[in-house]
Symmetry: C2
Subunit: 341 residues, 2 copies
């Protein structure tokens, strides 16, 4: 058993032999395979009415609206100021948006055409541009599949912008800054170059992008998507890089779906340099990237449980990142659903 | 929406109004309610044969054995030493044990007699004593229920001892040390006293112990179990405190089961001052405690999903800790199963 050092001052336990143990535990319901293209009761479909009575436009590409049950709102009141060191709170302000990727409920990103994925990428950049003028952090994330708490099969993501830097980006900022100070180069840029040379953890690549199972991955098939050029924010991507991103996303997500021949569940999201007042600061230590965290371990129905030891002591993985990368790398780039036809 | 500051330099988002949103997402299988008392094929029952051919003793209280698929082993080889700063690893050595709580598969901790729970506590202390002579960290944890990755319904916990301080205890050590240095009193001792006075987050208490939904709880019904006296390790508990612990555990876990009238799933574990070479150091900043992390949010079948925003940005809860504490506090202390009879 090994311990692998992560980039955020923590370690992962890697015990490759644990895949040998028999599994008699929980089995998940496999993802629903037959989603109707249009469902009159689905609040995300074009032209339908949502919980708050608003009617969706008859959209034919992406569609953005404000979350009807937002975790963040623009006008939260401030708590009292005289606080004990163990009982501190502050107001959290922000805005929560939802973005549908496509008018059809049965089309996920890997099944969309490249120019349709490109539209999603352009809208992501547009939202960071727009919300980033006001908010220091704009979190784009997609919960895909019921296993990841997604309650609507229509392909969509969420965008939560906040008046504060949340824990994860704050930690990432600290670690990237410290590395830059010490080594004079952005951590993730150096990392991308190293992985592009080593190859053993690369899943897919093209001239602008690299997808790897990171050296410090905790989830079995976790991946990290990195541009090869030093890019601070999604808004800084050139047209060519956006096209390259559409290409690599489609290829990565097709491999994911092909792994167990299901619509592969995951949570994913983008991290780039902070915005708002941070736009004026030097953020050269930052490098844009997307994290993909898929829950499955053994099959379409057996996930990795991040439980007792992981919650209380340290995350532990049951196959090496190199084994996971090899498995994904060797999968076909044609989607199992289009192959069948 | 509020942000609540935790004791480990992170924040939790509390958006109490989110419970109002309708739930159309994943529904879990409720926990199995009819477990046979003895199952000839269950490798944890007395007298049965395990995967490796070993035969369990005909035990009549607790039973401890080495995990047949251990994540940690005593003899891991050392990786090479000349490592790039982004690719660092080291050997992880240790030992993994399993402890059955009771000979009967259908008896969980809240359904056990107090003197039977006391036996479990004594064995926990015994294992920390024994493994702590050699290892700096002895993690006792229980994954309860299939929802928490537990693959055997027979009541049991695990003990993983390691030759290193894992991430979570290392962070906890840092934060408790910093607080002690600044305020001259152990963080969790001061916290226990404050909560005992405030009462609003207390779930159950007795003369030696306190169970609260912590101010910074992330899981909906998370609790923290604290001794009132300054205690560094589970091995330091007096006989009276062990009896008090058996009492409060039984009461807390009965309330948990009564919440949705099921055998309540959770992961729990103990944190106390490090052991091994740390036994000789001054660890006055430490205070013994147990964490309970239950996954359920709305009902026996709808859990809280810690997914996209939580993984990528910050943990977010949908009801306040005070609401959760009140709900648990008001539940009867008689178990729904014994009430039925
Ligand atoms: O060792 P077990 O009980 O088979 O395994 C369970 O607990 C471990 C420690 O928290 C986890 O790593 C596993 O994912 C989980 O299924
Ligand atoms: O807002 P949604 O999609 O209803 O909710 C989902 O994503 C949120 C953000 O990660 C989580 O807090 C919820 O637990 C999950 O069900």
């Amino acid at each position: 058993t090994l311990q692998i050092k992560g980039i955020k001052d923590t370690w992962v336990l890697v015990s490759a032999h644990r895949m040998k143990r028999p599994w008699a535990g929980q089995v998940e319901k496999p993802p629903e395979e037959h989603i109707p293209r249009y469902d009159p009761r689905n609040p995300l479909c074009p032209g339908n009415t949502r919980a708050n009575g608003e009617v969706n436009s008859d959209y034919d590409s992406t569609f953005i609206f404000e979350n009807d049950f937002p975790a963040l709102q623009p006008d939260a009141p401030d708590p009292g100021s005289d606080q004990h060191p163990l009982f501190q709170s502050k107001a959290a302000r922000g805005i929560c948006k939802v973005m549908c990727f496509h008018p059809w409920s049965d089309v996920t990103l890997p099944l969309m055409k490249k120019h349709e994925v490109l539209k999603v990428i352009d809208k992501w950049a547009g939202l960071v541009e727009e919300l980033g003028t006001k908010y220091p952090w704009v979190q784009i994330f997609e919960n895909k599949g019921a296993m990841m708490g997604c309650s609507n099969p229509h392909p969509h993501c969420q965008v939560w912008a906040s008046n504060f830097l949340p824990n994860e980006p704050a930690l990432s900022d600290r670690c990237q800054r410290a590395y830059y100070k010490k080594h004079g180069e952005p951590l993730l840029l150096q990392y991308a170059r190293q992985e592009a040379e080593k190859k053993e953890r690369v899943v897919v690549e093209n001239s602008d992008w690299l997808a790897v199972v990171p050296y410090w991955a905790t989830w079995p098939y976790q991946t990290l998507l990195l541009p090869r050029r030093h890019v601070l924010r999604i808004t800084d991507l050139t047209t060519g890089e956006r096209e390259g991103l559409a290409d690599i996303m489609k290829r990565l997500l097709t491999k994911y779906d092909n792994l167990f021949e299901i619509s592969f569940p995951y949570s994913m999201g983008w991290h780039g340099a902070p915005t708002g007042t941070h736009l004026k600061e030097d953020n050269s230590h930052w490098h844009l990237h997307a994290h993909y965290y898929p829950p499955l371990l053994r099959s379409a129905t057996v996930k990795k449980f991040m439980v007792g030891y992981e919650m209380l002591a340290q995350e532990q993985r049951d196959l090496t990142p190199e084994q996971a990368a090899e498995k994904l790398r060797n999968l076909p780039e044609e989607h199992y659903k289009t192959r069948e036809n």
